[in-house]
């Protein structure tokens, strides 16, 4: 605990660790990141370096968050005023400014997910973790629930982002199963719970079904030439 308690509108001061230093792995990653920016413009790397710091916190303490000392370390690495780092870190919701659980359940409740049953997903998360409100951490310190806006995977709604991975096509039961697996320390494969490939239609492809095999024996006219029967020129089509 240091005597510095960031307020930022938080009613309860956050206990802060007294020390933070980048470890070997982070330093290597910072070097790789800084190499992408012109000399003297390293402050532009503040977002990736903040994220490196947050990931190191997750790796070392099991809670990926950004204490003040970590933001100060980022400012030092990038030779920029500390307040400029605080400004960036507080602007983006992906930076956690208070300790969170090992698994950050970021549940999308924006319209498409909500239409597809995100309420059931939220209920399942609450039931499985015992968390009542948003931005709270479960008693065992494993889970933190956050309500997030559109994660950009509406086709596979509803979605929960757990740390860096998307879990899609969830319902009440599959969410319960996901959380139980996480609790057991397993690493469930990310992606659809409905068994589809990426964002392909559930139940298999509904189009292009004849292209079953794109291997060595592709049809001779593949890719179909423009203007052929399989790929007609729209301008010449007789549309009535």
């Amino acid at each position: 605990m240091t005597d510095q308690t960031p307020l930022n509108g938080q009613a309860v001061p956050v206990p802060q660790p007294a020390h933070f230093a980048f470890d070997e792995e982070s330093r290597a990653e910072i070097d790789r990141t800084l190499a992408k920016y012109p000399p003297g413009k390293q402050a532009s790397a503040v977002l990736p370096v903040l994220y490196i710091a947050q990931r190191q916190m997750g790796r070392v303490t099991g809670s990926p968050w950004l204490p003040l000392v970590a933001m100060d370390a980022v400012a030092d690495v990038l030779s920029m005023p500390k307040i400029r780092v605080y400004e960036v870190a507080t602007f983006y919701t992906m930076f956690n400014l208070r300790p969170i659980g090992r698994y950050h359940l970021q549940i999308c409740t924006t319209t498409p997910c909500w239409l597809r049953g995100s309420d059931a997903v939220v209920a399942a998360c609450r039931r499985a973790t015992g968390i009542k409100g948003w931005h709270e951490t479960s008693a065992d310190g494993l889970f933190t629930m956050s309500e997030v806006e559109c994660l950009g995977a509406c086709v596979n709604a509803p979605i929960v982002q757990v740390n860096d991975d998307f879990y899609e096509d969830l319902d009440h039961d599959s969410t319960l199963a996901l959380i139980e697996a996480l609790r057991r320390g397993e690493a469930p494969p990310p992606g659809s719970r409905a068994g589809r490939q990426n964002s392909a239609p559930t139940g298999g492809p509904a189009t292009l079904t004849t292209l079953e095999n794109l291997g060595p024996d592709v049809p001779a006219d593949h890719p179909p030439a423009f203007g052929t029967a399989r790929y007609p020129n729209p301008a010449t089509l007789d549309v009535k």
């Binding site: 510095q4 960031p6 003040l68 307040i83 507080t90």
Partner: protein, 679 residues
């Protein structure tokens, strides 16, 4: 120049101006909150909307719109008025409207402009946003709910003060102006945040709930807490000095003021000498004027004239110094103004002036700081150096203890041997100085304690062509407001500085508000007379104490470090039996039988002008260029290798007034150890 019309009036403005400036040139007042002519343009308050043709059919923010040829600007059309009314309505949505309990009330931009553009009622029925107050130290009080997020304070701290500690965290509804960590600001210019804040979010903590602006009597004066001679306004209610604000003086302080000048004034209410005191049996006891004068008079008769000496303090007015000089001359005694033991000679004026001028130093393209810490000695001057450095093309190097001066300084060494090496051409920075069009040296008190430093610096500058008819790069950075005036009056004895030779040098020592030297060096059998306003170090060793007036209580003439003669007016009466200092000396001279030949303030000022004609040239800026190449005399001794001392380790407590100030004591307590410059 670009030609455009503002409300039908044709104006010519320089290319690159913005529309707001063009409107001002046309005499049209544009309401604004975030725009400030000395800060970068943010364009986020949207209050300065105008209508522009040709252009999109919508109001435009005039501060962020560059002028164009044949532009037609309308500052008072229906579209403009509706736009500004809309902006004002949005600004007031989350503003608490607590003007009756707000210290900004009566001098608030938001209050004033809502008179023009505010509605008489609100349409907003939802809960207002509230923001937690921030701790920014003992000087700046925050009521953050009043903040309209113009970011002037953020830009001031980052751009002018050079201490980027304020920022806007979070976003949208949650956005807040904060330093994020609950720590005092480290700037010596933080009081200016209060002035530039257009609302009551940042107000003066010491002045909180003290007065309303319309209750105050305003007196123009000159600041004495550093040698810059900033233009100030002393605000008084009754007999109490409640606050000090800067006045605009473009050539001196622009519109800024250092924190000590602004906030040390509560020291004027503490530890004051309001009656004469006499030491009887080793203890000071209250006495009358006649009694005190006869005690001095008895002693003066008992000692030979050449065993009488006087030291003048750092905040004395020229009138008092002249009276003391004339009194000492009639007694045959010596007088010295160099409490800090600096080797300064009054022989030629440009040997002790800041010759480039306060505004002129911005023209320099290479500056060498020798034993000078402008951030502490004159924070407003330091802001100028930063401004010049930010503008580009200025290289700054330093000799002395490395400190963070808010701009990049190449620290060449800690001792004067580095200056000697530069002089001998053995240091690479000499090439930079020689290649500069307008090289300058700023030599400070820490270096001037060495008898050879001034001569060495001058010769170095001469060798790199920094002393010529059109440019004078030799600048002495004084710490004391009285110093240049004292040197103009020739208050220097022959030989070593008096403060160094105190021990046994005098049988009667007259201290005119002199507290900044080692009083322990005064031998115990010396009879000490202290004339001043505070019971500080000097009064503690005095046999007779005469109560003088502080700078707010007397009309005085001060000469700032660039040689500008300025006059401050008395804002209040001195407390109790205290009197203006020249009047005390005039009365004492009668008691001693050496009556001074002036009986009124006007007569003293005529005598001042007779003593040195510069005192007749009020507010005259520094002369351009050098009178000649002859520099300060070079003594035989070689320069010391010892590191130069940091003179102003504690910025906040440097004189009797600031040492008596509870506010300054609190500032010194919370101040972080002075930051060392990064490698």
């Amino acid at each position: 120049m670009v030609k455009l019309t503002v409300d039908g009036l044709e104006v010519d403005v320089p290319a690159g101006s913005n529309v707001l400036q063009a409107c001002e040139a046309a005499g049209r007042e544009i309401p604004r909150f975030c725009y400030h002519e000395r800060l970068s343009v943010a364009g986020n308050c949207r209050m300065c909307l105008v209508e522009v043709k040709p252009g999109p059919p919508k109001p435009m923010a005039s501060c962020a719109l560059p002028v164009a040829e044949n532009m037609q600007v309308f500052t008072d059309s229906e579209m403009v008025r509706a736009g500004r009314r809309g902006v004002m309505e949005f600004l007031l949505i989350n503003h608490p409207l607590d003007c009756p309990i707000c210290d900004q009330g009566g001098e608030c931009d938001l209050q004033d402009q809502s008179m023009g553009y505010g509605a008489d009622h609100t349409r907003y029925r939802e809960p207002k946003r509230a923001v937690r107050d921030k701790y920014l130290g003992p000087l700046v009080k925050t009521v953050m709910t009043r903040c309209i997020q113009c970011t002037r304070c953020v830009r001031f701290a980052t751009e002018i003060a050079g201490t980027p500690e304020l920022g806007a965290t979070a976003r949208g509804e949650a956005m807040e102006i904060t330093n994020y960590v609950e720590r005092a600001l480290t700037s010596e210019l933080s009081g200016n945040l209060i002035d530039i804040c257009p609302v009551g979010a940042l107000t003066s903590r010491p002045y909180a709930f003290a007065a309303r602006p319309w209750e105050l009597r305003k007196t123009d004066s000159i600041d004495v807490f550093d040698a810059l001679g900033s233009a100030i306004r002393v605000d008084v209610r009754g007999t109490e000095v409640l606050r000090v604000l800067p006045r605009v003086h473009e050539a001196v302080n622009e519109e800024w003021l250092a924190d000590k000048a602004r906030f040390a004034i509560d020291g004027l209410k503490h530890r004051r000498l309001d009656r004469p005191w006499l030491r009887v049996g080793g203890k000071l006891r209250p006495a009358g004027w006649t009694e005190a004068f006869s005690a001095i008079s008895a002693r003066v008769r008992a000692v030979p004239g050449n065993r009488v000496a006087a030291i003048v303090g750092d905040q004395c007015d020229a009138e008092a110094m002249l009276a003391l000089r004339d009194l000492m001359r009639s007694l045959g005694g010596s007088i010295d103004c160099r409490q800090d033991g600096a080797f300064l000679s009054p022989a030629r004026r440009d040997h002790y002036l800041f010759n480039s001028g306060i505004a002129g130093i911005e023209q320099a393209d290479a500056i060498l700081l020798v034993g000078a810490n402008p951030r502490h000695a004159a924070p407003v001057l330091n802001a100028r150096l930063r401004k010049a450095w930010l503008a580009g093309g200025l290289t700054i190097a330093g000799i002395g203890q490395p400190v963070d001066l808010t701009y990049a300084v190449n620290w060449l060494g800690t001792g004067l041997d580095t200056l000697a090496a530069l002089h001998a051409g053995e240091h690479p920075f000499r090439e930079t100085l020689a290649g500069a069009k307008r090289p300058a040296i700023i030599i400070g008190p820490a270096a001037l304690r060495d008898p050879a430093a001034a001569a060495l610096a001058w010769q170095l500058l001469l060798a790199v062509d920094g002393v010529r008819p059109d440019w004078h790069g030799y600048n002495v950075l004084h710490g004391a407001a009285s110093r240049v005036g004292a040197l103009d009056l020739g208050l220097v004895p022959t030989g070593a500085p008096l403060a160094r030779a105190l021990h046994g040098a005098a049988d009667l020592l007259y201290l005119l508000a002199a507290d900044e030297f080692d009083t322990k060096a005064i031998s115990p059998d010396t009879f000490v007379v202290y004339q001043g306003h505070h019971g500080d170090k000097g009064a503690a060793v005095a046999d007779v104490v005469l109560p003088g007036a502080a700078y707010t209580e007397k009309s005085g003439t001060y000469v700032n470090l660039e040689g500008r003669v300025q006059r401050g007016q008395a804002a209040v009466e001195p407390p109790g039996e205290a009197r203006p200092d020249w009047a005390i000396l005039r009365a004492l001279s009668d008691a001693l039988g050496h009556g001074l030949p002036y009986g009124s303030l006007d007569a003293v000022r005529q005598a001042l002008e007779a003593a040195n004609p510069v005192f007749g040239l009020l507010d005259a800026g520094p002369a351009l260029g050098a009178m000649g190449p002859e520099g300060p005399a070079m003594p035989d001794d070689s320069v010391g290798r010892a590191p130069l001392a940091e003179l102003y380790a504690n910025y906040y407590q440097t004189d009797p007034i600031s040492r008596a100030s509870p506010t300054m004591a609190e500032c010194a307590r919370v101040a972080a150890p002075y930051p060392v410059a990064a490698e």
